[in-house]
């Protein structure tokens, strides 16, 4: 059974568009326009797309904070509308990593507060909060007031809060937005650990490198519709994205060779080509370089990135 299933999910918003000083017109925004997808248990699933594509709407519907206008969705086998309370028991959520806490409470007090709202006793909540502070790397900073936290610390506390009820599924809406590289790395490693422990992670992000590194499955959403879905490798293959091959030749000037040549970072000529068969073509280039009596300075085979996938899919 899937951890998350959506069928023909729809959500519309009415926005007021000003026509003149006195008149306004209702405009219909299709935030989700027939989204169907399935997320297996224990995987990291990423929803990517441009701003306003419907990512946060999707997260809010799945986490029961928004009622859809059409279609249906199940989380952990429970209907998100009819069995919202059941869904809430088994999920954790990070919506905006720098919001959702009392500024005049400490990190641990905030966690204990949420833990007790989830039904833990005070002792259990304190114990769990301490574990999560360690897990997220906040440690002793848990005793500091939330208002003194940096953005990175707030993001870590958000994730700790999302885990306070031992959820089966966590929803993370852009969990590393605005974080410094070290904090972002810590959170990525935490997400990876969660999936290893069998938790299902549903995340959104604009950082394609991060998505590629973490996700088992990626879905691209554009104007409320899923336009591509699969593992990062599948998506690249489906779009027939080419590898990029670079072979540096130790030579003073560009040799007379049957491959496109550019000048590399070290000033040597570099054979640069896009290919679907990187292994075969690499052998061919090296053979040709040696046949002409040159040495190979270095070789680079660059895989197509998920960013290219997204660019290609969104520009269709």
């Amino acid at each position: 059974m899937n951890a998350i299933t959506c069928e023909d999910l729809r959500k519309f918003f009415r926005a007021k568009v000003k026509r003149s000083f006195f008149s306004r017109e209702d405009s219909l925004i299709r935030a989700l326009d027939g989204v169907s997808l399935g997320v297996e248990r224990g995987v990291v699933f990423s929803l990517v797309g441009p701003n306003g594509a419907g990512k946060t709407t999707m997260v809010k519907i799945l986490s029961t904070l928004l009622i859809p206008d059409g279609g249906r969705a199940e989380v952990g086998g429970y209907d998100v509308v009819k069995q919202a309370n059941h869904v809430r028991r088994i999920i954790g959520l990070v919506l905006a990593p720098d919001k959702g806490f009392y500024t005049r409470l400490t990190g641990i007090e905030n966690l204990v507060y949420y833990g007790r709202l989830y039904g833990l006793s005070k002792e259990e909540a304190v114990k769990k909060a301490e574990q999560l502070l360690e897990l997220t790397g906040l440690g002793a900073d848990g005793a500091r007031l939330y208002e003194e936290y940096s953005l990175g610390m707030r993001a870590k506390l958000s994730i700790a809060k999302a885990l306070i009820n031992d959820p089966e599924i966590v929803f993370l809406d852009e969990p590393t937005i605005g974080l410094d590289p070290l904090s972002a790395r810590r959170i990525r490693s935490l997400i990876k650990d969660l999936a290893t422990q069998g938790m299902t992670v549903f995340m959104t992000s604009h950082n394609m490198w991060e998505v590629e590194a973490l996700s088992n499955t990626v879905a691209v959403i554009k104007s409320g519709k899923i336009v591509a879905e699969g593992s990062p490798a599948e998506l690249k293959e489906r779009l027939r994205l080419s590898y990029r091959l670079e072979v540096e030749i130790i030579a003073d000037k560009s040799p007379d060779i049957n491959f496109p040549v550019t000048v590399g970072e070290r000033g040597y000529p570099v054979v640069t080509m896009e290919t679907d068969r990187p292994g075969e073509d690499l052998v061919k280039v090296i053979d040709e370089v040696r046949r002409l009596g040159y040495s190979v300075g270095g070789v680079r085979v660059l895989e197509p990135s998920l960013e290219e996938v997204l660019t290609r899919v969104l520009s269709r």
Partner: protein, 266 residues
């Protein structure tokens, strides 16, 4: 699904959160202590502008000091309505609802602060009135006073929760609360009802707040306009009625909020 034990745990969590926060917002208590004497003077003289000679009437001064007590009571409770709007703006409300907690439970943490405000502010106001205007500090029926305060506490807790849900989307809820804090008590029994002209008395009796506020003043002054054996049960029934209305409204309004994706009603 969410058992009674969980609910009790939530109540304690919210109350502890409220107390901890209150202790860290010392500026609030300081501001109350600073402002109470000024408000006392303002209220006394605003009413007595029409007849400054009444400054010599012990009964009227006593009645007015208890009227201001009810003002502080109502004001402290309904100001807590702003809390929900703040909670929504700070992204806390959504997470709290996700835990299965209700708005009423969430409001409890703020209500603790209101109760503390009344517990400190009410006696302080009575003391200031006694020192500044010579009112008496005695209470005619202490037992009835305790019951009246308990009924009023329950009523205004639920009423403020409803108001909070109604005001959650407003950018300036403070204006509405500023007005309501005067209108509610002073149209509903804070001004000694027995002293009002008969046609105004009739109108006051139509206000549900009268049956909550009048028993407090009457227990202090000893003058019940409606006998306590009637007015207090009516107050209790009103608590029940507002609880039912509140549950229904909370359900409807929250569902509407979840449909629109934001905690807004207008």
């Amino acid at each position: 699904m969410f058992g009674r034990v969980e609910s009790i745990g939530r109540v304690f969590a919210e109350m502890e959160r409220g107390l901890t926060t209150y202790a860290r917002y010392r500026i609030w208590l300081f501001s109350d202590l600073m402002s109470w004497p000024f408000w006392t003077i303002f209220f006394f003289l605003s009413f007595l502008m029409y007849s400054p000679s009444l400054l010599a009437s012990q009964y009227h001064l006593n009645a007015f000091s208890w009227a201001f007590f009810t003002f502080i009571f109502v004001s402290s409770f309904i100001w807590s309505s702003v809390f929900l709007a703040t909670s929504a703006q700070e992204g806390i409300l959504e997470y709290v609802l996700l835990t299965g907690s209700s708005v009423r439970q969430h409001m409890l943490g703020r209500m603790v602060i209101s109760i503390l405000d009344v517990a400190v502010g009410g006696p302080a106001l009575l003391l200031i009135s006694a020192v500044g205007f010579g009112t008496r500090l005695s209470v005619a029926y202490p037992a009835l006073m305790v019951v009246s305060l308990a009924v009023a506490g329950v009523f205004f807790y639920i009423f403020s929760s409803i108001l909070a849900v109604l005001l959650v989307s407003l950018r300036s809820p403070w204006i509405i609360i500023n007005v309501a804090q005067f209108v509610i008590p002073f149209t509903s029994g804070a001004i000694p009802v027995e002293a009002l002209p008969p046609e105004i008395q009739g109108a006051v009796l139509y206000s549900p707040f009268f049956y909550i506020i009048h028993p407090i003043i009457a227990s202090a002054t000893g003058l019940f306009f409606i006998p306590p054996e009637i007015v207090l049960p009516v107050g209790g029934l009103l608590c029940l009625a507002i609880y039912i209305v509140g549950r229904f409204l909370e359900k409807v309004l929250l569902r509407r909020a979840l449909r629109r994706g934001k905690f807004t009603l207008f």
